[in-house]
Symmetry: C2
Subunit: 106 residues, 2 copies
Amino acid sequence: MKEKTRKQYEARAKIAKAMAHPSRLLMLDLLQKQEMCVNDLTEKVGADQSTVSKHLAILREVGLIDSRKEGTLSYYRVTCGCLDGFFSCMETVLLADLEGRKQSVK
Amino acid sequence: MKEKTRKQYEARAKIAKAMAHPSRLLMLDLLQKQEMCVNDLTEKVGADQSTVSKHLAILREVGLIDSRKEGTLSYYRVTCGCLDGFFSCMETVLLADLEGRKQSVK
DNA sequence: TGCTTATATGGCTATATTGCCAATAATGAA
DNA sequence: TTCATTATTGGCAATATAGCCATATAAGCA
């Protein structure tokens, strides 16, 4: 594989990897609807605050979210408008997989 | 979080996780264009054949691809038609991230 | 200044993933 | 049957990830 192509797939894989965790997917879902601070997310996710903060760092690192400071609060939000496409594709795969498994049982 | 919701995010995370590897993204890209057998993919990916086989198992496990046997060959192909959306969203995020970093340097 | 709140980071252990080699099917040809 | 080809699986060591506690940083207030 060409070096350039390989790098491209690695870059994409980083994004997929950032999304490859249920808590981070929930956060993306929430942050897509509205800006939230770490404390809000910590309640919603139900994990340790430090854990949530690290998840957010992972998402920010790949550019899926960004943050702004307001006093002591850090507000996070989703940067791209194409996440719905992501999620709906995932649902499609999940449903199709269910159907497929039904088929193979028949 | 509700139990049902949590399970839903876990299911989605499995799909994202399956895609979270450069070799597997390459395979998806190739298999979307045309059906291929393990040997073909092994050449393209440039890893051990057993490694490729395991990657394929991971993708099949979540329903992103399926396979059919023809003699000693296993032909794999992508099952869903929405992967382009995935990839283009990834590109969007990557480009936006580049722009964002330029901005923050200014 | 000292106290409180909000967030980020260091450090650690448990667990998961990766990728190779070796071994095991499974198919077809000699 | 024996051999060659193709693919899958087991096992292992190296590496990466997850999540908690403890700690550090930073801002605002008394």
